[in-house]
C-alpha cells in the first residue's frame, strides 16, 4: 500500500481498526468511546463496525476501567483503554501502579498483562483545568510499565500496533495538540522498534531531545537556529520507559551539548533522568551541563497563561544559547 497523508487522530483510529480486525481478542474500552467516538473522535466508527461487545462504553470510573481491563487481560483479552484526558488518569493510578505494573512479576511471569492505556496529554489547546497535563514521569518511574508517545501520524499508527502486540502494559501518551497535524503513513513499512529514539534532524553543535508534542517545537527551533548558523540535532525520544540512552549518548558524543525539552514540569521530569544518566555516560564529552526546558513547578495554569508556561521556540532557543555559551 502506498503512503497516505493523514492526521494523528485518524492514524490512531486506523491503528485501532487494524488491531480490532486482526485479533478478535483486542477490545477498545473507555468513557464515550462508542457512539460518540470519544471526545476527540479517535474511536469514531469503531463501535458501529465492531459492535458494543468489542468497543465498550464504560461506567464513569477510571479505576473500574483499568481494573476490569486487567481482569479481561487475565481472561486472554487485549484491552486498549482510553482515559479521556491526562488529568483523569489518577483515579486509576492505584490499579495501574499496584496491579497492572506488578502482576506479571507477582506471578513470576506466569501471567501476562497486555493492556494498553491511551492518554491524550499535554497542553496548548485552550482547555480548562485537568485537560492539559503531562504526567508521564509518574508512570515512567514505575517498574513494570512501558511509556511511549508518538509525535506524528506514522508513529501514532505503528507504535500503537506495537503497544497492542506487546505482552506488557504500555502507557501510550497521545500529543493532543498535534492530533490534527497530518503526515505520511506507510502501512507497508517495517516500523522502527517501539523503544528506539529516532534522529529527526541531523546537526553538529547541540542535541535537542524531545518527545510527543515538543518534537515539532524542537524542529522549528532547529530551523530557526540554522538561520543563526547553529546546527542542532533533534532526537525524537518516542519512549520514556525505557529510554534509548544509547541513541542520546551517540548523539551527544558528537555534539557535546544536550538540551531536553518536555511540557511536563522540569523538577523530576524525564529530563532529570536523561541529564543525570547522560552526564554519567558522557562526562568527558559534555562541554556544557545538560539543560532542561519544561513546565514549571506549578499546577498547569489557566489557558490564558499556557503560552507562557509551556516551552516554546524562544525558550528552547534560549536554552540552546545558554548551552552554547559554555
Amino acid at each position: 500500500m502506498a503512503a497516505e497523508k493523514l492526521s494523528v487522530v485518524k492514524a490512531i483510529n486506523a491503528s485501532l481498526r487494524t488491531a480490532l480486525e486482526n485479533d478478535p481478542k483486542v477490545l477498545v474500552m473507555g468513557e464515550d468511546v462508542g457512539k460518540l467516538g470519544g471526545v476527540f473522535r479517535v474511536t469514531e466508527g469503531l463501535q458501529k463496525d465492531f459492535g458494543e461487545d468489542r468497543v465498550i462504553d464504560t461506567p464513569l470510573a477510571e479505576s473500574g476501567i483499568v481494573g476490569t481491563a486487567i481482569g479481561l487481560a487475565l481472561r486472554g483479552y487485549r484491552p486498549v483503554v482510553e482515559i479521556q484526558f491526562d488529568g483523569f488518569v489518577f483515579p486509576a493510578y492505584d490499579q495501574i501502579v499496584t496491579q497492572l505494573a506488578k502482576m506479571h512479576a507477582r506471578a513470576l511471569g506466569k501471567i501476562k498483562l497486555p493492556v494498553v492505556i491511551r492518554i491524550p496529554y499535554g497542553g496548548a489547546i485552550g482547555a480548562v483545568e485537568h485537560h492539559s497535563e503531562s504526567p508521564e514521569a509518574l508512570f515512567a518511574h514505575v517498574a513494570g510499565l512501558k511509556v511511549v508517545s508518538p509525535s506524528n501520524a506514522s508513529d501514532a499508527y505503528w507504535m500503537l500496533q506495537q503497544a497492542i502486540q506487546s505482552d506488557d502494559p504500555v502507557i501510550y501518551f497521545e500529543p493532543k495538540r498535534r492530533y490534527h497535524d497530518k503526515s505520511e503513513l506507510d502501512r507497508s513499512a517495517i516500523p522502527a522498534p517501539l523503544h528506539a529514539a529516532r534522529t529527526v534532524r541531523r546537526g553538529t553543535d547541540l542535541t535537542l531531545v524531545a518527545y510527543g508534542p515538543m518534537v515539532k517545537t524542537c524542529l522549528e527551533a532547529a530551523a530557526a537556529a540554522e538561520e543563526e548558523g547553529k546546527s542542532l540535532e533533534v532526537l525524537d525520544l518516542r519512549s520514556m520507559s525505557p529510554v534509548d540512552f544509547d541513541a542520546i549518548q551517540a548523539s551527544v558524543e558528537r555534539t557535546g551539548r544536550l538540551v531536553v525539552v518536555h511540557e511536563a514540569p522540569v523538577f523530576l521530569g524525564t529530563g532529570a533522568e536523561i541529564a543525570a544518566r547522560i552526564t554519567e555516560r558522557c562526562f568527558y564529552h559534555l562541554e556544557a551541563p545538560v539543560l532542561r526546558v519544561g513546565g514549571y513547578h506549578a499546577p498547569y495554569p489557566p489557558s490564558r497563561l499556557e503560552d507562557e508556561y509551556l516551552p516554546g521556540l524562544d525558550r528552547v532557543l534560549d536554552a540552546v544559547d545558554r548551552a552554547l555559551a559554555y
Binding site: 468513557e31 464515550d32 462508542g34 457512539k35 460518540l36 467516538g37 471526545v39 462504553d57 464504560t58 461506567p59 464513569l60 470510573a61 479505576s63 473500574g64 488529568g87 483523569f88 489518577f90 483515579p91 485552550g126 482547555a127 480548562v128 483545568e129 485537568h130 523538577f267 514549571y296 513547578h297 506549578a298 499546577p299 495554569p301 489557566p302 489557558s303 490564558r304 497563561l305 507562557e308 508556561y309 524562544d314 525558550r315 534560549d318
Partner: protein, 384 residues
C-alpha cells in the same frame, strides 16, 4: 427491584394540603417520583413532602430560573463568540438547581460540580465570577467562604468526599448547619462517591447528596452507570434515598429542605436523585446528535421546568404581565452586564503562574519565578 419507599421513613412534618390538590401515586412498576407540580402546571400533594409558598416566593423561584437560564444562554453565546473557551450549560436543570439552592441556608455549605450555575446564583455568587475558569483566566478563583459555595470541581466525584469531610467538621463544631454535595448520574459510578456514602453514614455526617440525573454523562445514558434507579443506591449504605421530579422546582425545594433539616437535626445523610434532563449539549465542545435523538429532547421539553411554573402562576393568577415584563428587562440587563464583564475581563498577569502554589512559599517556585522574570525581562531589553 422492589421499590423501598425510603421517604416513608423520614419524620413527617405537619402537611398543609391545599384544598382540592391531588395526590399522585407512582404508576405500578415505576419508581416513585416526588412531584408537587405536574408538567401541566397542576399542583399536587405528596404525603411526605409538602410546601406552602407565598405568591412572592413563587415569583422569586420563577425569577431565579429565568435569570439563570438567561445567564446560561448568554454564556453559551459568549463561547460561540470566542470569549469563553468552553461552557457547560445547565439548560433544563434550572428547577433542580434553583429548588435545591433555595433550600439551603446561608450557613450551609455547597459543593458543586462544574454545572451548578443556578445554585451559585442562589448562593449569591456573582455570575460573572463563574466565567473566569471557562474563559481561561483562572481555575475558579472566587472565595468559597464568601458564600459558602466551594469551587467548581471538574474531576468527577471528588467533591462528594470534600463535602462529607466538611460535614464531619460541622458536626464536630456542634453547629446545626448542613452541607450539600452535587454530582451527576455519571459521577455515581466513581469510587469516591461510594466512599463518601460510607464515610457520611458511618459518621452520621450532616450532608445531603444531590444527584442531578440528567439522563446523560456526555454520550452515555444512565443505563451505562446503573441498572436500577440511582436513589436506591443510598439504602445499602444505611440512609434514605428519594427520587424527585427534577423539573419541578417546588418538589425539589420541599425535598431538599426536608433532607437538609434531617441533616441539621442529627439524622445523618440523605441522597436525593433529581430526575431531570440535560436539554443542551454536554458542553459547547459536544455534539449530541452523535448519540441521541431529537425526539427525546422534545419529550423533555414538554416537561420544561420554567414553563410549568409559568403555567401555574398564570393559572392561579399569581403574577401579572408587569412582573413578566420587568423580569424580561432584568434578564436583558443581566445578560448585558455579563457580556460586558467578560469582554473586559483582563488576562491574568504572567507572573500569576507562580502565585498561590504554596501558602508558605517554596524555594523552587521562588527560583523559577526569578528565572522567568529575568527571561521575560530579556525580551523587554531586546525590544528596547
Amino acid at each position: 427491584m422492589t421499590v423501598d419507599s425510603t421517604a416513608a421513613r423520614k419524620p413527617r412534618r405537619g402537611s398543609s394540603k391545599r384544598a382540592g390538590a391531588k395526590t399522585r401515586a407512582a404508576a405500578p412498576g415505576e419508581p416513585e417520583l416526588v412531584q408537587l407540580l405536574t408538567p401541566e402546571g397542576e399542583r399536587v400533594e405528596h404525603p411526605d413532602y409538602s410546601i406552602d409558598l407565598t405568591a412572592d416566593e413563587l415569583r422569586g423561584l420563577y425569577r431565579d430560573m429565568v435569570l439563570t437560564r438567561r445567564f446560561d444562554a448568554e454564556a453559551t453565546t459568549l463561547q460561540r463568540q470566542g470569549e469563553l473557551g468552553l461552557w457547560a450549560s445547565l439548560l433544563g436543570q434550572e428547577a433542580a438547581q434553583i429548588g435545591s439552592g433555595r433550600a439551603t441556608r446561608a450557613d450551609d455549605y455547597v459543593f458543586p460540580t462544574y454545572r451548578e450555575h443556578g445554585v451559585a446564583w442562589c448562593r449569591g455568587v456573582d455570575p460573572t465570577n463563574l466565567l473566569g475558569m471557562f474563559r481561561g483566566v483562572n481555575h475558579g478563583g472566587w472565595d468559597p467562604n464568601e458564600n459558602n459555595f466551594h469551587l467548581y470541581t471538574i474531576v468527577i466525584g471528588s467533591q462528594a468526599l470534600h463535602a462529607t469531610g466538611y460535614a464531619m467538621g460541622v458536626a464536630k463544631d456542634g453547629a446545626d448547619s448542613a452541607v450539600i454535595a452535587y454530582f451527576g448520574d455519571g459521577a455515581s459510578s466513581q469510587g469516591d462517591v461510594a466512599e463518601a456514602f460510607t464515610f457520611s453514614a458511618v459518621y452520621n455526617a450532616p450532608v445531603v447528596f444531590f444527584c442531578q440525573n440528567n439522563q446523560w454523562a456526555i454520550s452515555e445514558p444512565t443505563e451505562r452507570q446503573t441498572r436500577v434507579p440511582l436513589y436506591q443506591r443510598a439504602q445499602g449504605y444505611g440512609f434514605p434515598g428519594v427520587r424527585v421530579d427534577g423539573n419541578d422546582v417546588l418538589a425539589v425545594l420541599a425535598v431538599t429542605k426536608a433532607a437538609l433539616e434531617r441533616a441539621r437535626t442529627g439524622q445523618g445523610p440523605m441522597l436525593i436523585e433529581a430526575f431531570t434532563y440535560r436539554m443542551g449539549a454536554h458542553t459547547t465542545s459536544d455534539d449530541p446528535t452523535k448519540y441521541r435523538r431529537d425526539e427525546e429532547r422534545e419529550r423533555w421539553e414538554a416537561k420544561d421546568p420554567i414553563l410549568r411554573l409559568r403555567t401555574y402562576l398564570d393559572r392561579e393568577g399569581l403574577a401579572d404581565e408587569e412582573f413578566f415584563a420587568a423580569l424580561e428587562t432584568e434578564a436583558d440587563a443581566l445578560a448585558k452586564r455579563v457580556r460586558d464583564a467578560v469582554r473586559t475581563m483582563p488576562d491574568p498577569d504572567n507572573m500569576a503562574i507562580f502565585e498561590n502554589i504554596y501558602a508558605d512559599g517554596h524555594a523552587l517556585v521562588d527560583e523559577e519565578r526569578a528565572q522567568f522574570a529575568a527571561y521575560q525581562a530579556s525580551f523587554a531589553e531586546e525590544s528596547n
